[in-house]
């Protein structure tokens, strides 16, 4: 069964494709936007913008450090640079440049990392960004956004350009189910509840939102009423929604396509502990590097499935005081 099928979702665009379309569409409305690429624009999907606005697109070659600092300089000159690469190469290779040329000076640099998570598949672990959210969240003042579907990826692209200050937008490679309608209200730092429930809450982002919805559907058959929240912004976290979920449902499971430490799970657990402590369970990649393989097979092997989320909800609910 395909991801999201149980929840009645149709398969939609990949978030990277939606971003690429949105960026090219917004070029006239945001005349200060420029792109800086490390020669992977046909993968990150900055290419449509670069073809439409060749004078505003800079491919600096396979040199991520230089790429990020050039973006910092463009921001210093009043531009809104969108600097894109694979999530792992952007955040890991150029982390010091992100720190010194974007975050610390609080420059209006828009970081975009594609090919996040293990669902990129066959290219294998060297290409999988699984540490990127933790790295992004560690930087003061950087907003970290992980859209779940094409509709919110487009809205996130606009929100990122309107936002003043550095942002990190995390995108995926494969096609993902269409979860949200065009009318959805997307704001940085404001989560979207996609399903009501009273026994537990699954807080997810990216690809895991559709999987979380499927898990909630499965749990319905077991008599459990489960809330599902699309926590598309990891930082600044929608702490009010987390506290409300803790108070009203008494158990929380966090699901993300990221390593165990430092991602959505960590920030939600901090918020729960500080507001209304309840049991929290985690579904994530763990503390390992994955391997090469087909995306669905990888998600299955590394436990990013509706069954695993449902099972984790049950064990977490069982820990309620």
């Amino acid at each position: 069964m395909a991801i999201g099928e149980l929840s009645g979702y149709q398969m939609g665009q990949a978030t990277r494709d939606a971003f690429g379309d949105a960026l090219a569409e917004l070029g006239d409305e945001f005349p200060n936007v420029v792109t800086v690429d490390g020669d992977v624009g046909n993968s990150t999907r900055t290419e449509p913008f670069a073809l439409k606005y060749p004078d505003r697109a800079f491919n600096v070659g396979i040199a991520e450090s230089n790429m990020v600092s050039v973006a910092g300089g463009l921001a210093g000159a009043g531009k809104t640079p969108v600097v894109a690469s694979f999530a792992c190469f952007l955040m890991c290779n150029a982390f010091d440049q992100i720190r010194m040329s974007a975050a610390f000076p609080n420059l209006n640099v828009k970081l975009v990392g594609s090919h996040a998570g293990i669902s990129i598949g066959e290219d294998g672990p060297s290409q999988m960004g699984i540490e990127d959210v933790a790295l992004g969240c560690s930087l003061p003042g950087v907003a970290v956004i992980v859209p779940a579907d094409a509709t919110t990826a487009k809205k996130a692209t606009r929100a990122m350009l309107e936002h003043k200050g550095p942002t990190y937008l995390r995108l995926g490679r494969p096609k993902v189910p269409a979860i949200h309608n065009d009318s959805v209200d997307f704001q940085i730092g404001k989560s979207i509840q996609i399903r009501e429930g009273s026994d537990a809450t699954i807080i997810a982002n990216g690809l895991m939102v559709a999987i979380a919805a499927d898990a909630a559907k499965k749990l319905e058959a077991d008599g459990l009423s489960v809330r599902v929240i699309d926590m598309h912004t990891v930082k600044p976290l929608d702490r009010a929604a987390v506290e409300k979920a803790a108070r009203e449902t008494g158990a929380i499971v966090v699901a993300e396509e990221h390593m165990h430490h430092g991602g959505l799970g960590s920030v939600v657990a901090q918020a729960v502990t500080e507001t209304h402590p309840v049991p929290v369970g985690f579904v994530d990649v763990g503390d390992v590097y994955a391997e090469s393989g087909d995306p669905m097979g990888l998600l299955e092997k590394y436990g990013l499935t509706a069954d695993k989320v449902a099972q984790t909800v049950k064990t977490t609910v069982a820990r309620k005081g």
Binding site: V60, S65, V70, G72, G76, A77, F104, P105
Partner: protein, 228 residues
Amino acid sequence: GHLRLDPKNPTDPDRDRFILSKGHAVPVLYAAMAERGYFTVEETMSLRKLGSVFEGHPNMRRMPGIEASTGSLGQGLSLGIGQALGVRIDGRNSRVFVMIGDGEMGEGQVWEAIATAAKYKLDNLVAIIDQNGYQQTGATKDVLDLKPFAEKIEPFGWHTQTINGNKLEEVLPALDKAVAEKGRPSVIVSLTQKGFGMLPVLEAEGDTNYHGKPLSSKLAEKALALLE
């Protein structure tokens, strides 16, 4: 001066930019900015003290007129490229000057930037390499010898000059030539001597290597007397 800027309007989009990539030399930049009228010399005396905006390395967030927050070596030339591209898109005549240390040239990012500036034919960009021959633990020629800089950078597509950076009569014409160069970026390799101007005092003490350490107050008094 070669920098066309107004201390009273430090965010003027048409200003020239100076980026100190070797951020550890920022006390010299503060002194120059004081001379130019950004603040008084008296104000700079709070250097490195808690609460002072005169931090140990440049912090553009806290000090208008500072064009880049540096201190992690290797990033200034790339930042300069971004500034140079940005002002060029807008059709401004602003020029961008970046000062880099010779030890800093060991950072691979600088060479990425050298190639990129040439690709975009950034003739509004001038790099100055301060070749003083010393870095943290010793002589640059012993740590990682990357000389000769001009001969290595020229084939990337840069205009190059090598001068005695302690002689103002060589510095000023080199800057004139650098900004006049069309169609390619320009680098000035500036051969300098640490402590120039107070060398007799240092030599008398038998130690002329003052990299990252202040003079004792006794030596500072002697050096100041010599400079005046």
